[in-house]
């Protein structure tokens, strides 16, 4: 065993240092399975002090390392490139403090998003950001990726709910960002906001202070089906134009509805509908009746075929069932599913969907859409057989064009999944070399030796180097041709 590994074992014991190359295969990738890389080792620290001690050792040895939570990232963020060591934070799952009066909690990074809400539920509080993977994904991962979710339209992303953090910097020293009482010293820049979304390249947050929200008095969920996607999108526009701020505004297109209805997630969505729109209102009972009437008016005005409403948890769950199961249902359509993530201004939703359909038709790929309509955050899904090289290539090409379309319409190449390794090639659709250089400089302040999660979030300066190192998707093609 190399001396570094021996030192790590001395620090954490042999059960929390994994070095068997075969076992390490399990850490080869996250939810984005195209890019794979086996780490040199995995360590499982349990405290800030242990993370510091581990990072100091790695810093001294100049060995790169990658923080990892539950590995549900969809862009390759926690994949260990180039023989890096994974600092797995799954054992750091303590809720350190719950402050009821001041409505914040301090948690270790491995605390699962939904577990935090479960821990404060009896106080009538919850943690608002709810990515679809919330039963699995960790607060540390959410903080690193600035995760979103269906309730972002009203409640914002992770960044809007993080008050501060203790961060182990890539040399093993500690920095305290923000505080439970607001952000920071007046006159100092907002480092908590900057750290949030840095995709694990600035350091390892070991204690995170998040805002808790008071549970709303009433929740009403409405599901309307429409004969056309246009009508569904216009309903969203009308609802927003009326000044309403629903907690969620989600649309599923016809292909998704059919896939859902043909799967175990059958939710009773009308199969002939071209689109369904899920609207969730929450707030004080005295105001909600009025708001619900306005949503119903918008549904009626746009010729909704059918509208269902639920206020009790069981029925609300039923209306959400198809939406929550959409990706699972899509996953069953073929061997592989490419979940895209792009954003357009909400006013460009219709144009974007038409463009996406055209791109799908051009490349002959099976394309469906589930999206956070309120935020203009699209998730076009392409079901394909990764073992078929031609199909895979068409999928990649369609994905690339869809992201370009989003940018052309004034949007972004990622609303919530991050750049990771997946979108390094797309980065320049949004930013030029100067923008990139500024971001690289900012990263170098935190992570001067580029030891912490190297090769993520920002493409390297020479544009073609990335595709050479990570032939997008080809890893999967080669693997499946070789072994299937």
């Amino acid at each position: 065993m190399p001396s570094l590994e021996r030192d790590l074992v001395r620090l954490l014991g042999d059960r929390r240092v994994l070095t068997s190359p075969d076992a390490l295969l399990a850490w080869e990738c996250d939810g984005f399975t195209v890019h794979k890389s086996r780490p040199r080792a995995v360590v499982l620290p349990e405290s800030t002090a242990e993370v510091q001690a581990v990072v100091r050792l790695l810093y001294a040895a100049k060995v790169p390392f990658v923080p990892r939570g539950a590995g549900t990232c969809l862009s390759g963020g926690p994949t260990a490139r180039g023989d890096a060591i994974v600092v797995d934070l799954c054992r750091m799952k303590k809720v350190l403090q719950i402050a009821t009066a001041d409505m914040f909690a301090v948690v270790q990074p491995g605390v699962v998003n939904a577990d935090l809400t479960a821990a404060v539920k009896h106080l009538g509080l919850h943690y608002a950001p709810d990515p679809s993977s919330q039963t699995v994904c960790t607060i540390g991962g959410n903080f690193a990726e600035n995760s979103g979710g269906p309730h972002c339209f009203k409640y914002g992303m992770t960044q809007d709910h993080v008050l501060g953090a203790r961060v182990v910097l890539p040399d093993g020293s500690l920095a305290v960002l923000g505080s439970p009482a607001g952000s920071r010293l007046p006159g100092a820049p907002d480092l908590t906001a900057l750290f949030c979304g840095s995709e694990g390249t600035f350091g390892i947050a070991t204690e995170i202070t998040v805002r808790l929200c008071r549970d709303q008095q009433t929740v009403r969920t409405m599901l309307g089906s429409f004969a056309s996607m246009t009508a569904a999108c216009r309903t969203v526009s009308d609802i927003v134009a009326a000044g309403l701020v629903p907690a969620a505004l989600e649309i599923l297109d016809q292909a998704t509805i059919r896939a859902v209805e043909a799967s175990v997630y059958r939710a009773g969505y009308p199969a002939d509908a071209a689109a369904v729109l899920l609207v969730e209102l929450d707030g004080p009972a005295v105001a909600l009746a009025e708001e619900a009437a306005e949503v119903h008016a918008a549904f009626a005005h746009n010729g909704a075929l059918r509208v269902e409403e639920a206020t009790d948890p069981a029925n609300r769950k039923r209306l959400w069932k198809g939406r929550k199961g959409a990706f699972g249902a899509m996953g069953r359509l073929n061997t592989d599913l490419y979940v895209l993530d792009g954003v357009v201004p909400r006013t460009q939703l219709e144009a974007a969907l038409q463009g996406i359909a055209a791109i799908g038709a051009k490349h002959g790929v099976l394309l469906t859409n589930v999206f956070h309509a309120g935020d203009g955050n699209l998730h076009p899904n392409i079901s394909y057989d990764g073992r078929d090289a031609a199909q895979t290539a068409r999928t990649i090409a369609a994905g690339h064009e869809i992201l370009q379309l989003c940018v052309d319409l004034g949007g972004s190449i990622s609303g919530e999944h991050g750049i990771g390794t997946e979108k390094l090639d797309h980065f320049r659709m949004m930013y030029d070399d100067t923008d990139l250089a500024v971001m690289a400089k900012v990263r170098a302040v935190w992570n001067p030796d580029d030891l912490c999660n190297p090769g993520k979030a920002l493409p390297s300066r020479s544009a073609c180097a990335e595709s050479a190192k990570w032939p997008a998707m080809t890893a999967r093609i080669l693997r499946d041709e070789g072994h299937a």
Binding site: V112, Y265, R332
Partner: protein, 426 residues
Amino acid sequence: MAVSSDCRSSAPGASADADVYARTLDCVHCGLCLPACPTHQVLGVEADSPRGRIYLMRALAEGRVQDPAAIRPFLDRCLDCRACETACPSGVKYGEILESTKAKLEQERPQRGLRAFLVRFLLWHVVARQRRLRAMFALARGAEVLGLRWLATKLRLLPAHMARLLPPVPSAAERRPLRPGLHHPPAGVTPRGKRVALFTGCIMEPMFGRVHRATLQVLLANGFEVEVPAAQRCCGALLVHAGMPGPARQLAAANVRAFADADVVVNNSAGCGCAMKEYGHLLGTADGAAFATKCRDISEFLAAEGLSATPAECRTKAAYDDPCHLCHGQGVRAQPRQLLAQVPGLELAAHDKPEDCCGSAGIYNLLQPELAGEIGRRKIESLAKAGIDLVLTGNPGCMLQIDSHLRAAGHKARVRHPIELLVPPS
């Protein structure tokens, strides 16, 4: 799927291998199974999660694993509780992948050492043979009466954790087997004109003979004729989990024959029920698949048929804890609760995570005492918070595990099989 007429064949064909590999591809690596997995909950290690294990098994099938012994511990630590299957949005057949892979590993590189030998020997030569199992229990009871267990623990011949886990061996009367053959409803009970066959399994009889007697009594009191086939055998589940599908197939085939005439095969052990419902996969025969469709858990059967005999009053606060192989393995969740709700006086309390594994998992608590102990401790913690006097669960392994942990924690609550509460007043 390889269809083999020789049920003693332990080697599935190459196409079965490919089938297992294809099933690993169903996993899209989303990770939604992680919080459902008891070992990942305790260890926080990716390779000790369903997603990680599937990934390792897939890598093994792809020939990317250099030393299969290196991944074996992660597979061995799996409880096979199937909670991941419930959580999986992609419908991955985790249990089948695991069992096939373990069988393949065991066949290619059988585990050596005294412990592995003992496990194989005990499972196949004792547990799977009713007469020997009965004899062993008789011996154990004798030894206990003579104080040998105390002595063995003192002399450290019996590891302390095992001594703690092993409950006192029941008396001969408790261990008395059911009379084989046909049983009729007693006089005064309106017959339903329906006959069911009762599966009795291996460990339930010597450990919890009263559960079998209660099952028989409830079925008869509710107007059913009950056949107890003499030729039936152990279900083979423990062998399948230990990577010994060959011997398991022999047992399965014997059971298919023994119950050939039955329309409905009722069992009161979730683990057995789950294994028997998977005979189609295990045997790969039409007979096996047909047998599987006849199997019912006792709660599933009674809830569907409806109780005609009101159970005896039981003024107790109880919690129902779902056995993994009933809720995740067979999707039976509402039925036991529905039946227990009909017990006069019984108050059913809710406790946290009733569907989480208790750590019993067949002989897991003997093979992985430390992990099983931690998982058991968490179960007791959740039960203790509910403030109950009685724990109800429908699987012998779970009954043993929960009982031993309750005793270890000094908790006063006792453990019963739900069927025991459905017995009408005498």
